[in-house]
Amino acid sequence: MQTNIIDLFENNALKNYPNKTAYRDLKNEVTFNNIYDKSRRIASYILDIKNIKNKPIIVLLEKGVYNLLVFHGITYSGNIYVPIDITQPKERIENIISVLNPELAIVNENTKEKVINILDSEKIIYIEDCLSYHINEKILLTVKQNIISTDPLYILFTSGSTGIPKGVVINHQSVLDYIEWVYKTYSFTYKDIIANQAPFYFDNSVLDIYITLKSGCTLYIMQEKNFAFPAKILEEIENNNVTSLFWVPSVLISIANSMLLEKYTYKGLNKILFAGEVMPNKQLNVWRKYMPNALFSNLYGPTEITVDCLYYIVDRKFEDDEPLPIGKPCSNSDVMILNDNNEFVKDNEIGEICVRGISLSMGYYNNPEKTREVFIQNPLNKSYPELIYRTGDLGYYNHYKEIMYVGRKDFQIKHNGYRIELGEIETAVSSIDEINNLCVLYNYSAKQIVLFYTGNKELDLKYIRTKLLSKIPKYALPTQIFYLEEMPLTANGKINRQRLHKEYIGE
């Protein structure tokens, strides 16, 4: 029985493929044996300077192989790793530190300034010192034997509505369970090469990292700067013989819109997974046309339920303006769609997506109030304690009994007395040929449905409204449009809705 991530690594990739490349970036490459060696040096260093267990340790490093060695080193030390986005404003890093009160921060010469005036100097340690430290076999054995499956593995920070970031705590068991499901469902093998796009502070990367430790495949960390250029992304995929992707749709959309797939001769991609945003069928159909032998899968899940709880393997044709299902629950997860009265919805009735099972986060670190708001007793079970997570996302069952994503509960607006899902408008707009990428927001003070779009040319409002009339009701048509040269993206690669709101709507 595997009780923690160390078991997963040592019983699988390390045992079966010790000398095979595990992680690779532009500059560095490590084998599974190297991971075993370096991460235990890091763990020994941590434990020799502080006798701590189950404490958060923040990691401030540039994205790359060393980042991952540090995560595993912290795991071997029996503590919780917390990846920090080093490009975010110092104020946000301060907020995260005030929530966590971390025991240690692991930095390098380039990143130390981010914490140097915030944390005491004895709490700041340098990766270079850890990597060359001697391995303390005795203490590592004791720690490993004492890690239980419900001990926290990592904390990822999401933005909080009050401006205070929320630290989502995920334990070993949830990741073990998720990775076993990924391994079986998508048949990853040691032959696979995964191209990593997701930043390590974004939970899509959890699949990339741990399926590597399970299957013995290789994780290639893509160059972040290339993501703005579809031609470079495709070149990098080909040059590195990539077989599998788990990316946010925005990147796949920009590649499809570039028309480069038509001439792309590399046919090595066999698994194309995506999550984090809605994937429009218009662009997915382009991918499917030019990669007919690849498996495409739409996954869904908030950080609070360990990456994904629903999935759909694309198995039938879709029109460009049809929405793609988010599918059925992953193994060992149960997804319930509840209406406002906390009852199961009927077919086609929209309700909130709620999740129960081992995938649930342990809650928000040092934030019992926010935890209690969304991790609640299952309203359908009054007999024994059982938590569910309210995602704040809306969905319904289609006639295949697949779950369809509608949008955020917060994206449901009341406009001129009508209840409207902004996601439904986005799906309709995505079918307009001239539009490549888009986002719909609501201006509450001016009562306007605002469409932002990119495309080959600027379109007028009347043209767009006429095109949409056959797809959505008149009251849901956009009333204001903005043509953008480029869609702003967040560091995760998703559309930056907050920035659009701030710059164009000003609320």
């Binding site: 073990l176 369970d177 076993e180 499901w181 193994s331 060992n332 079970n381």
Partner: protein, 70 residues
């Protein structure tokens, strides 16, 4: 990953040892497949007549015997 006891029972025991003795009751031997088959019959009966509801307790009033397992 094994997620429930049915998987555990079927994958680790019944499929490998279907014709091996699982229980001896009053000097009579019962194979693993006997327990599996009778458990399924009972489950089908309960579900068909809507006697058992998902995730609700079902009380068992039986003498101690092999049938308790089923």
């Amino acid at each position: 990953m094994v997620t429930n006891l049915i998987e555990y029972f079927e994958n680790t025991t019944v499929n490998l040892n279907a014709e091996k003795t699982a229980v001896i009751d009053n000097d009579k031997e019962y194979y693993f497949k006997y327990i599996r088959d009778n458990s399924k019959k009972l489950a089908t009966y309960l579900l068909f007549y809507n006697i058992a509801v998902y995730n609700q307790p079902t009380a068992v009033f039986l003498d101690k015997s092999v049938n308790v397992f089923a």
